[in-house]
Symmetry: C2
Subunit: 314 residues, 2 copies
DNA sequence: GGTGCCATTGCTCATATGAGCAAATGTGCT
DNA sequence: AGCACATTTGCTCATATGAGCAATGGCACC
C-alpha cells in the first residue's frame, strides 16, 4: 500500500468510524467504488490505522485467553488487560476470578480454597449471593491452633458467607517443624475429616507465592529468610498451596514438603476444576511452572503474565 | 444501565470487535437475542466503552472541521489530531496544509503567500509536482533590499519550484521606518507590479504571528521588543501578513500599519480563497481574531486550537 | 387490585456489508 | 512485442445489521 492509498484509507476510516457514513457514501465522496472502500477499511484495520479498544475495568482479552487454553490445554483462561496504572492489576484479576466463580456452572457444592493475599482479594471481590450454599473448605493449613481466626480463615469464611454456605477450616499450621508433629495433627479426627472433605471438593481455588521476603509464609512465621535461600538454591520458583515447586512443577524440597500439611499436588493435578489466580511480574516463573505441569485447569491472570507465558515457548 | 448489563456489553464488545463474531453468534454465547446484542454494542460505543481511534500522522478530525465551518462560516477547515508528543503538531499541521493545497481544485494559477516559520514548513511539506506551473507571489515584504534571498524568498521559491512554476518576490522590507520611504518603495514600478499581481491572486496562503519576542518580525529586525510592548498595550493579539490586529481583527496601530508594505487586510477579506495555517497554544488568540473577523475562508490547524476556537463562544 | 405510563424486548423489513469469483490490469521476463 | 503470472478491480449474492414498530412487562399512583 503506497502513501497515497494509505491517506485515502485514513480518510475513509474517518468518514466511516467518526462520521458514520456508509461505505457507499464514502465511495462517492472519495471517488472510488464502495468495494474499494470496504477493502481499504479492512486494510486500515489490519495495519493498525484503525484501533478499536474496549476501555473498561472488567474488560478481558479473549484472544489471549484462547491462546492460553490451546497452548497449555486448559479448560479455561481469563486474561484482563493491563491498565496503564498497573497498581490496579491485582484487583482487576481478583475481580475477574470472582466473576469466573460466579458464572461457573454447575455451581460448585464444595469449593477447596488456599489462602493468601490473592485469594483473599478474590473473596472480597465476590458479590453477596454469588452462589447458594457453597461449602468452602481450606485445602492447606494456615491457621494457628489458637481460636482467633486469621487471614486464612477470613478468606474461606468470606467466600462461604457470601453464598450463605458454610466454611470448613483446617485447624493446622501450614508447615510443621517436625514430621512427627505433622503426622500427629494429620491423624487427628477433625483434621482428617477436613482433609477428606477437601479431597472431594468439586472445585479448587488457589494462587501461588514467590520464595522471597514478601512471601506470606515468611510473614506468618512458617519459614525464615534462610529457608527461602535454601529453597531457591534447590530450584524453587514459588509455592502452590504451601508446597514449593521448581520450574518443572516438581517438589523442590521433599523433606520440607513432607512437613507441609494440606492437599498434595498430585491431588490438585487429578482434580477436574482447579482455578489458578495469579498476577504480577514476580510470579511469572511460578505461573509457568503451574500451567506447564498441569496443576491447574483454569488460569485467571493479567495480560502481561499471559504474554510472558506464551512468549518463551516450551 | 446497571453493572451487570454493562459487563455483558463489555463481553459482547470483545466478542464483536476482537473476536469478529456476528451479533447472532454473540447472542448465542451470552444467552441473549441478537437485537439485544446490537443495542448493547450501540450503548457501549455511546458510553465510550468501545473506543475507535484512527492512528495516523495524516489523520484528521472531520467532526471538529464541520463545527468550525459552521460556526465561523468558513469554506473549509482542516483539523489534525494533537499527537501525544506535541512537538510534532506544527509539522502535522503544515503537512495538512500542503495536502490541502495539493488537493485543491481548480489548481490556483496565482498563489499569494505570506512568509514565516509556519508557511515555510508548508512549503517544505509540499510534494514535488504538487501542481503544474503555479505563479507564487509574495503578498508582504520580507526581503531586505540586498540581493541575497532570505527565508521569505525561500518559502515562495520552494512552493513555486515544486510546481515547476515561477516565484515573484516582493523586494521590500515588511515594515518601513518612515511613511515616506514606504510610499516611495510602493511607487516603484517593480514593486507596484508585484503588488498588482498579488492583488489578483486566485488563492492566498498565510499564517499569523504573536506579538512577543519569538516574533519573526523581531527576529528580522523590523520591530524592537519595545514596539511589541506598545502593540500589546494597544490590544494587538498578533499579526497577519505583517499587520497587527486586535481581538476583533481591527488594525491595532494605524500609524504602524501605514508603514507596513503589502496586501491590506481588506483585500484579504474580500478574497475568495484565503488559507490560514495556524498551530499552537500561543496563537489561539490571534487565530480567534482571524476567523471571527473574516480574514480567512479556510483554516488549517490542530485540534487543540480548533477546540479553543469553538469553546468560548462569541 | 386496577390503570395508565414508560422502558424494554422481540420482531419485520430495508439496507449495508463481506466472501468469493471473473474480468481487467499491471509486471517481469524472454 | 508476446507471454505467464500476480495483483487489483468490479461484480453477484448470501448474510449481517440497524431503523422502526408492536407487544410485553414493570412500576408508580390511584
Amino acid at each position: 500500500m503506497n502513501e497515497t492509498t494509505e491517506v485515502i484509507a485514513v480518510r475513509a476510516a474517518e468518514l466511516y468510524y467518526d462520521e458514520n457514513l456508509s461505505q457507499d457514501e464514502i465511495g462517492g465522496l472519495l471517488g472510488i467504488t464502495r468495494w474499494k472502500v470496504g477493502r481499504l477499511l479492512a486494510q486500515a484495520k489490519e495495519r493498525g490505522i484503525v484501533r478499536i479498544e474496549i476501555v473498561h475495568p472488567r474488560a478481558r482479552r479473549l484472544g489471549v485467553e484462547r491462546q492460553l487454553r490451546e497452548r497449555f490445554r486448559l479448560a479455561d483462561a481469563v486474561v484482563v488487560p493491563v491498565p496503564a496504572v498497573s497498581a490496579e492489576t491485582g484487583a482487576r484479576v481478583a475481580q475477574a476470578a470472582a466473576d469466573y466463580l460466579t458464572a461457573f456452572r454447575p455451581v460448585p457444592r464444595t469449593l477447596g480454597v488456599s489462602w493468601g493475599r490473592t485469594v483473599d482479594a478474590v473473596a472480597d471481590s465476590l458479590e453477596k449471593d454469588w452462589a447458594r450454599g457453597v461449602t468452602v473448605v481450606q485445602i492447606n493449613g494456615g491457621v494457628s491452633l489458637s481460636r482467633r481466626p486469621g487471614t486464612a480463615a477470613h478468606t474461606a469464611v468470606t467466600i462461604a458467607q457470601k453464598s450463605a454456605g458454610q466454611a470448613v477450616l483446617l485447624p493446622s499450621p501450614a508447615i510443621l517443624e517436625r514430621l512427627e508433629t505433622k503426622q500427629a495433627i494429620e491423624s487427628d479426627r477433625t483434621v482428617a475429616g477436613v482433609m477428606a472433605l477437601a479431597a472431594e471438593a468439586s472445585m479448587y481455588l488457589f494462587s501461588a507465592g514467590v520464595p522471597d521476603a514478601t512471601s506470606i509464609l515468611v510473614e506468618n512465621g512458617y519459614l525464615a529468610s534462610a529457608d527461602l535461600d535454601e529453597l531457591r538454591r534447590k530450584g524453587a520458583v514459588g509455592d502452590v498451596v504451601g508446597r514449593f515447586v521448581d520450574a518443572n512443577g516438581n517438589i523442590a524440597d521433599p523433606g520440607l514438603d513432607e512437613r507441609t500439611l494440606g492437599l498434595g499436588l498430585s491431588q490438585l493435578r487429578s482434580a477436574k476444576n482447579t482455578v489458578f489466580v495469579v498476577s504480577g511480574e514476580a510470579k511469572h516463573l511460578v505461573a509457568r511452572a503451574v500451567v506447564t505441569s498441569g496443576l491447574c485447569t483454569v488460569i485467571v491472570t493479567d495480560e502481561a503474565t499471559a504474554i510472558a507465558l506464551l512468549e518463551d515457548a516450551p
